[in-house]
């Protein structure tokens, strides 16, 4: 191997290390993909400072909840952008086999759709919750501890009806 090639390999390895996403971010792939899909469909960006809101939510969170990641979309114009018919199929594809479809609530009355996917994560349950209604959308990823899991298993529809933002304690 020539010196030039060795230098090239080192540069490649170093750039690989620098460009590789941090572990935490890699685990949020589904979250970001869903946020991007909503953003593209409604041509709307999520509320600003969601990083800060997530940070605050993680400190002011209800007991048993942690690792909250949050994206809220407001003022969605559903008259111009009717519901994405392929959204559920997209989500199923994006979350992959690791996440299991857990709860789905479709409430025609207020046009609200809630999808909850779950996967075991050590002693916790990792939940990915997506709520869409006529003018708002919310994507939440969080971990719940055993007490939280008990509440979710006890009454999944009721837990999913609580707004995801309130799960995060951001309101």
């Amino acid at each position: 191997m020539t010196r030039k090639n060795r230098v090239g390999l080192h540069v490649l390895a170093l750039s690989g290390l620098l460009l590789a996403p941090p572990a935490g971010r890699a685990g949020d792939r589904e979250f970001h993909a869903i946020v991007e899909r909503i953003q593209a469909h409604y041509q709307k960006r999520p509320m600003r400072f969601m990083g800060l809101v997530s940070f605050v939510a993680n400190r002011a969170r209800p007991e048993g909840v942690r690792g909250i990641k949050l994206a809220v979309f407001e003022d969605l114009d559903s008259s111009r952008h009717p519901a994405d018919p392929d959204f559920e199929a997209f989500m199923q594809e994006i979350v992959g086999p690791e996440f299991h479809p857990f709860v789905r609530v479709l409430a025609r009355r207020d046009g609200e759709q809630t999808f909850v996917y779950a996967k075991g994560s050590g002693r916790d349950l990792e939940l990915l919750i997506v709520t869409l209604d006529q003018d708002e959308a919310c994507v939440v990823k969080m971990k719940v501890d055993p007490e939280g899991v008990r509440q979710w298993v006890d009454n999944p529809p009721e837990m999913s009806r609580k707004t995801p933002v309130s799960h995060g304690g951001a309101r």
Binding site: H100, P101, F102, V103, R104, V105, L106, A107, R108, R109, A118, G120, R123, L125, P146, V149, R150, V153, D154, N155, P156, P157
Partner: protein
């Protein structure tokens, strides 16, 4: 050194042992409830709850420390289950779903192995509740359960897959999206009130 005949006998014995430990051919306690999805367009609210084996294992692990008697019983039931599937519809007005829609589920419950153990139909308030059990034709073990709960403006189908202690079934009422049916805590039978409404039909 085993002769070829001994090897064949050994394989045959192993195959027989395997066959004896699995449910009889065609006995699948998992219901196809997807065909109810067409009701989603008419329903004012649709709730789907899916707890597969891995989720149930996780849940039972988390519920291991439960002091509450009902929760402890619920944990005992779900730790052996392979799946809990609940589909529930609420309608704005009567007549949004038909008897044929329910029949699509009942026809699956007419398959060998399924037996109706509770059937409550009230002419007075239109509340219907049916509980079916699938038992292994060889071992008589319970393989699964189905519940159809319906009134004029709602329909709920519950499918539990896996072994269930029927005596403890009441502990699952009101949990995991399973409707409250007033099952007798001791025997998993309808309560006095339901028994009365059953008589009412007669």
């Amino acid at each position: 050194m085993k002769t070829p005949t001994q090897v064949v006998r050994l394989i045959a014995t192993l195959l027989l042992a395997c066959c004896a430990s699995i449910p009889a051919f065609g006995q699948n306690p998992r219901l196809q409830i997807k065909n109810l999805d067409k009701l989603s367009k008419k329903a004012s609210e649709v709730v789907d709850v899916t707890l597969d084996e891995s989720m149930l294992k996780l849940a039972s692990r988390f519920m291991a420390d439960e002091k509450d008697e009902d929760d402890a019983e619920a944990r005992e039931i779900i730790k052996d289950l392979k799946g809990v599937y609940v589909k529930s519809f609420e309608f704005e007005k009567e007549g949004e779903y038909s008897e044929e829609d329910v029949e699509a589920i009942r026809s699956q419950l007419a398959a060998p192995g399924w037996t109706r153990v509770v059937g409550v139909r009230s002419k007075h308030d239109g509340d219907n509740a049916e509980v079916y059990l699938m038992t292994d034709s060889n071992t008589r073990n319970i393989l699964g359960m189905a519940i159809i709960a319906a009134d004029s403006e709602s329909l709920t189908v519950v499918n539990l897959v896996g072994p269930i202690d029927i005596a403890k079934l009441s502990a699952l009422e009101g949990k995991m999206g399973i409707p409250r049916m007033g099952l007798d805590k001791e025997k998993g039978k309808p309560s006095q009130k339901q028994a009365a409404s059953h008589d009412e039909k007669k």
